[in-house]
């Protein structure tokens, strides 16, 4: 698979603060990167840099193109959906489709109409009159009707009900598997996107605290569900997090202590959310 996104030592510095510090990653076709971090960790600045709407230090190439210098060519293959509606509210659906067909060389208006026909979005509806879920659906339909190779999603399902979330991810997965594409998903709903991810990049205070393939990240940690009497032994293993239960405590530990911990209780596999929370709280 070809490299679709390449970021090398990307740094964004505002006058008084560093928003993103030396972030590097590569994303190939078929990969889905989860971009995680608490509010203010630098996710939005990194996304803005990837979209070419913010100047930055370092190197970014998406589909072999520079997001700032070659934005026009790049936007044929790069798309973005965020939690905030970016569609022009004063337009109706037919008008936004007509505009997209006029300025986007690879936009297939018939495909967009066909995709929308399976939804409850009428072409005559004003965008301002659509619900949040419908707006996201409309935006996704516009993107799916283009030759987008890299899609960046920033909290795409925030504020959507469960049915819209399900529909959104179903359409997204269908579209994703329909070609050589890469996805970047930034979300606080870690458990919601975990099953989609092939890779993860966790940011904390502008820096990367964890990065890699999902399988390798799961292999780095484990949970031991041990009785309280083993607390002093486990505390010597530098646990990343603990969750007190009835009679037992769940400890998140690094894999290097697995052999030592096996006799102390049940060994469980951690979820991405467990790891994410532990890393965010670590030395907080």
């Amino acid at each position: 698979m070809t490299v679709l996104v390449r970021a090398v030592k990307v740094t964004k510095q505002y006058q008084r603060a560093v928003a993103v510090k030396e972030i590097s990653f590569e994303l190939r076709g078929g990969q889905v990167l989860g971009l995680l971090g608490h509010n203010g960790a630098g996710k939005s600045s990194l996304i803005s840099a990837l979209l070419g709407s913010l100047s930055y230090q370092g190197e970014i190439e998406i589909c072999g193109l520079n997001p700032v210098k070659q934005r026009v060519q790049l936007m044929r293959y790069l798309a973005y959906i965020s939690d905030r509606n970016v569609l022009p509210l004063w337009m109706n659906v037919a008008q936004v489709l007509r505009y997209s067909s006029g300025v986007h060389p690879s936009f297939d208006i018939n495909k967009a109409r066909q995709l929308l026909s399976s939804t409850q979005i009428p072409l005559t509806a004003k965008i301002s009159s659509l619900s949040s879920g419908m707006k996201v659906q409309l935006h996704l339909s516009i993107i799916m009707a283009t030759d987008t190779k890299v899609l960046i999603l920033d909290e795409p399902t925030l504020g959507l009900d469960l049915i819209y979330r399900d529909t959104f991810y179903r359409h997204l997965i269908e579209w994703f598997h329909d070609g050589e594409r890469a996805l970047i998903i930034a979300s606080h709903e870690v458990s919601e996107i975990e099953h989609l991810l092939t890779d993860v990049l966790i940011l904390k205070q502008s820096e990367v605290v964890l990065q890699g393939e999902m399988a390798s990240i799961y292999a780095r940690y484990f949970i031991v569900d041990a009785q309280h009497q083993h607390q002093s032994i486990i505390e010597q293993m530098s646990p990343l997090a603990s969750q007190v239960g009835l009679g037992t405590t769940k400890w998140l530990l690094k894999n290097e202590y697995r052999a030592q911990a096996e006799g102390l209780g049940d060994i469980l596999e951690p979820s991405l959310q467990d790891i994410f929370l532990a890393l965010q709280k670590e030395d907080a």
Partner: protein, 284 residues
């Protein structure tokens, strides 16, 4: 079809006042004029009185020319007002409503976006407003054909004269647009940074004038600003528009266009980098 066509169409849809205000004024004007013209008693009672001394053999009251001048003044003033309002609003509105990210997600260059916005403000709006003049003159043309008693007052109006007057008005508006170009570029740049660009520019210009005159004791800046800012209105009211450029002077015009070019570069840079970045302005 060129993307610029769809972008102009989008501007027309977004800024409906550009078509609605001239249409409203046209309808109101036609209704009032119709009421006056068909109130035959009023016209039967018209009397013209003037005092003069000397030879009266070459004197005559040119009502038609007066009507044309009035229509041209109204159409031109409406065009100037709409252009200024549009230039101050267009980028600010995209930023405030959040649709900026959507427009930037399309493969359209910042240069084309600026060209379309300047073309819309300085060419399309005056062209739309020119129909105020055209339909006003056509109204008087048809009145002169059907109302014999008004023929004496209006004089002979030919269709060719109506069309010629319209074309001359368009030519005059092109000159006004040329004169407005530096201010238009300034407004595009400022509107990307502040929420009230017209107020900021007005206050800024007054401040610069006051500082240069009363703090530095140099009134050259104030003279330059006065001559450049009064050019559009002077052109509109002048019977020989080209002489206005000569009165302002080649150096002032050159300086204004150089400053306009700088503002355009600044505006393009802000659009490209999402922020005011002086270093980026000169690095590409």
């Amino acid at each position: 079809m060129h993307p610029g066509f769809f972008m102009l169409e989008k501007e027309l849809l977004e800024h409906k006042i550009v078509t609605r205000l001239p249409l409203f004024l046209l309808l109101i004007g036609l209704v009032i004029l119709t009421a006056i013209v068909f109130n035959t008693h009023a016209f039967n009672n018209i009397s013209v009185q003037f005092d003069s001394q000397g030879d009266l053999s070459h004197s005559r009251v040119d009502v038609t020319q007066g009507i044309h001048a009035m229509l041209a003044l109204v159409a031109g003033a409406v065009s100037l007002l709409l252009s200024m309002l549009y230039l101050g609003k267009t980028f600010r509105k995209e930023r405030q409503e959040g649709s900026l990210m959507f427009w930037r997600s399309m493969p359209v260059s910042d240069g084309l976006t600026h060209a379309v916005k300047l073309g819309f403000a300085l060419l399309l709006i005056p062209f739309i407003c020119s129909f105020l003049l055209l339909f006003g003159e056509l109204f008087f043309y048809f009145i002169s054909l059907t109302q014999a008693h008004l023929m004496a007052l209006l004089g002979e109006i030919s269709l060719a004269t109506v069309v010629l007057n319209w074309l001359l008005f368009i030519a005059k508006m092109v000159l006004i647009s040329l004169a407005m170009l530096p201010v238009a570029c300034l407004l595009l740049a400022v509107s990307q940074l502040v929420n009230s660009p017209l107020i900021v520019v007005t206050i800024g210009v007054f401040t610069v004038k006051l500082f240069s005159t009363y703090v530095f004791g140099f009134d050259g800046v104030a003279t330059f600003i006065n001559s450049i800012s009064s050019m559009p209105l002077a052109l509109l009211t002048s019977s020989q528009p080209l002489t206005v450029f000569a009165q302002v002077g080649g150096f002032s015009c050159l300086l204004a266009y150089l400053l306009g070019a700088l503002c355009l570069m600044l505006s393009l840079s802000i659009r490209k980098h999402g922020e005011l970045n002086i270093r980026a302005l000169f690095s590409h």
